[in-house]
Symmetry: D2
Subunit: 338 residues, 4 copies
């Protein structure tokens, strides 16, 4: 950490900063410039925080030099981590696609969706049983019954399942239905108690980015899971909130190469929530794969117009099959497969 002193800072103020650094077990390095004195704290910065120094007399500002995350950082684990989701490897040379409806509705809908997902060539199935909706008057998901329907529809096609956990009290039930990858949604990216709970289980976690979470906050959220012992974390970019109103969110495609550089963990993309319209999904999916994403999370519904939730962003099974073909060509163009 570096502490920048104000232009007129006196010796007593400098010494007070030094004393605080030493008291935390780090050593001190002072550099006197023409306009400012800088004080460096040498040692494990993670025990320090800018707010410890900023309010001290004579301090202008202070800043971390080293990143605060460690277990998830590529700096400490050079090779890519490949995560096994019930036999499907995520983070390796093959790009994986997870398909399925926004929400679980009926046995017939789930059965048709599972067939569509499998036939198109995707290897995992998604479906929401618990739905975080902006309005309390909107459909809130089928709950446990939805888990059952998802599990049984996916089982008939041999597809592992991915579904969102919103409440720590439901975790036992998720384990009972053997959910293969637990999704933590955008609105819960910084629900730290929930992160700690999924950090204690032995199931892959798909961690969606918060609506306006920085890359650093997202990595720190993953670190919350990792320190509990669960290192099987998959990042999922799903669009960020900006000033633009022409589409639901802005897919932050830059996050893909940046995360791949910062962490050894896999990175996937949800093009359906990013754009919010089915017609945008092919272009965004191709862009994500071209940018280096390890997988995609795509909404597929046997009859989008009648979907109970996010009807405007789901692909039909046949559109999905066409897309898988395009994505395979793009993946091969950049030296991967799908």
């Amino acid at each position: 950490m570096i502490i920048v002193m104000q232009p007129g800072a006196g010796e007593a103020e400098i010494q007070a900063v030094e004393a605080k650094i030493l008291a935390h077990g780090l050593s001190v390095h002072v550099s006197r410039g023409t306009e400012r004195t800088l004080i460096g704290a040498v040692g494990d910065e993670r025990v320090l925080d800018p707010e410890m120094f900023d309010p001290m007399p004579g301090v202008e500002k202070s800043m971390h030099i080293v990143k605060q995350y460690k277990i998830v950082a590529r700096e400490w684990h050079r090779e890519n981590t490949v995560i096994d989701v019930a036999g499907v490897p995520i983070g390796g040379p093959t790009v994986q696609v997870i398909g399925g409806p926004c929400s679980v509705e009926t046995p017939a809908q789930m059965s048709a969706a599972a067939v569509g997902v499998k036939t198109a060539g995707a290897r995992l199935m998604r479906g929401g049983a618990f739905k975080p909706r902006t309005s309390p008057y909107a459909f809130q998901g089928k709950g446990v019954e939805g888990l059952e329907l998802l599990r049984s529809a996916a089982d008939t096609q041999g597809l592992p399942i991915v579904t969102e956990l919103m409440d720590a009290r439901m975790l036992e039930t998720f384990l009972k239905y053997d959910v293969d990858a637990i999704q933590i949604g955008t609105r819960n990216m910084q629900n730290f108690d929930l992160l700690k709970e999924v950090g204690r289980v032995n199931k892959p976690v798909i961690l969606k980015r918060g609506m306006s979470a920085t890359i650093n906050e997202w990595l720190m959220a993953a670190e919350y899971i990792a320190i509990g012992g669960n290192h099987d974390i998959i990042f999922c970019e799903r669009g960020i909130r900006t000033f633009e109103t022409a589409y639901r969110n802005v897919l932050d495609v830059t996050a893909v190469p940046v995360l791949k550089r910062e962490t050894h963990l896999p990175v996937i993309v949800d093009p359906s929530h990013a754009g919010g319209k089915a017609w945008m999904v092919p272009a965004l999916s191709c862009a994500a794969v071209a940018a280096g994403a390890d997988g995609l999370l795509v909404e597929v519904h046997p009859n989008p117009c009648d979907a109970w939730c996010d009807a405007d962003q789901a692909l039909t099974p046949s559109e999905f099959a066409v897309l898988i073909g395009q994505l395979r060509a793009v993946a091969r163009a950049i030296g991967r497969d799908l």
Copy 2:
């Protein structure tokens, strides 16, 4: 709701939209313009959603005309609601100030803070026992022991207490310690399961705005609490996330008059988290009161430099006392008191 058809939309497409509206129990009103046909759905719009119509053939876009919140809306409840927090009225002519440290640390710290808050003239006390921190390596709060310390320090001064609930499983404990107002933090504004839980109890809730929540989403989050039966909800603006990096957040002072127009519930402001620096707190506090806020949530610590959390934004008790004097003058200038 209005559905705007594409320029070339045909009769069959228009009739399909009409049929869907009728199927939901509303009636239909068609308007044929020179460039577009518009279809109005007349009746209770809350059962409809744009995503039901947007994917239909021939539809360009659809939009709500009526707001989706009802219990919290001023449209349905004209007079201001005044909420009684253990004898202190919030939302009436008197502006209320809630003071106290970011986090509960020690008995001595809490005792000094309580005396400072009371002496300055504030009427409620805050203090965090459970802390949502970006880093898992940062101090996470004293937990239940912190609740105890807050309760007993505040009781010696006769101050009602406000503290943050992060996990529904801890609600019983909050009731046991008789927390007078339960704070839902920024990161949990859309933790819908938590909102539903506090909607079932009989305690005022302070609902902080999400980091990048729109006014509409915030009102809908309050509606989640209200439909459970708990209408004692206080909105708390605490700064939003923008592109600006010179300060932690941007205090959205416009949210105060806008919320006061949209809802009958009280609106308070947290100037400490908004700016992130103690020296900004007086200016932001005066601005908030001048804009019409019903109260403030201000961080006060007996010794800010040694605070375990957010040390750079707390006022000392004597700074706080000076501020209260300034705020009283501003409140009187706009015809209120404090």
Copy 3:
């Protein structure tokens, strides 16, 4: 345009709105719902504006139904427009790459850059002679001498040139040096007097998106150029400003398919300014082409470390040549060429 009346709006208020619509030459259509009365203005909406109605008594809000741009809109011109930049077609099946340094520095630098750009297979050359820099103490560009150097270096390789115009008073000089495509930079996207000037000449214009311009504002800026008679406009997405600080801008890849749907004009992408780091350029370039961009604007410098401007985002000629190969593979994967 639709005007939504407040719940309690009376007949006199409704009639005043009707009168104002009629006075502007449109006809009126009234729809009385259960909660609100809606008034539709039927005719050419472009003469109306929400602000004409919003302040009237009894009006809740009003909104356009039809888009305000016309010449640039695909609605009025179905087929793609292909723009000829000195013999190079932009907007057709072939993706075009424009390469060159951020700023023109020396004859040797420009000569090496031109060779690199040509050798790699790009078909147009860029180079900044007038540089918009945040700091007045930073290098401001070589000015007219820079135009000369760019023109002569590009001519030796038979490459058309693209360079930024910042000031209308310099337009004559641009025409004298026969700049093949005039770039309007991010900071001037809404410099309306400048837009009007380039709207009067007969040269293709590359219109970069403003730092936080909405898609609608961007299209309206193009309409400013188009109404002057110059319809040869190429949109260039270059990253938008958001809350994220880990990279300079967020490349808004969604803008590509959205613009391609809204306008018949070509859309290119500047991956260099978007990410701000050379190592991000390949991933972002591949993503842009995969999303459907008609071209790229890439910074190439013979010796990036010594560049006088934006040294951290330029590729070397050999990196650029490798990238062109990757991009060709991606273009072919989606059925185009490069």
Copy 4:
């Protein structure tokens, strides 16, 4: 400036950085930490830029320690600067209000506006002759005729005038009509050629903040004016662009105390453009004055409903007179006058 080396950076890489610093005339200070080596550049940082070092092998990142602006910085000029606008002091103990219509329309409108502004007690008059409009189909201002109308209406009441300059070619005309303070609008905050031009004249400049300009960029834009010799610069906060759609912009009230700390120059606020609705203006105006603004720029129109531009945000003269009274009370509450 500090250059942070990557963990594995070797001696040759460190020496290359040192050599580059020395070559620019600064001296070097190296600090070897446990995880990173830091290299400090000691001397006048303004000649260095992070982009000079970031692309060098072994460099992780580099950053300025000292602010890049100098003439406008309070660090170099401790006391408040009070600017004399034709006899009216801005930046002193008295808060000044500038009132008038968004755009100049007719002699009758201007005459009524001038009387209203004067009667209410404001001391300067505004009015737009050249209007930057998002749509080319909207009213673009009366141009030079508008300047004449503004000048003569204001003269009858003895009010200095403020109006926006959009194009450097019109500067001579502004001087001819003796515009008392030249406004640079939001869209031109980084029109650097225009800034340089107004930096050469001897007239106060009101520099509005760009739609999404950071505080640093805004100060640097002022520095562009200042290095030309014109130090009479007044900052005007007018709301920033965020994700929120419930109002036009978010008034960034925090910018007021932050700018007052960073610069010695006056800071005023435009509450009319910030909120975009007349009913928000009083609350935002009171907040701005309470936060420490040195003045306000308020839209006043004799008949807002019929205004040719921004009709929804202007106050009537009588509303304006009431507001002035409220503002005076708030100003006195914080120890100023108005």
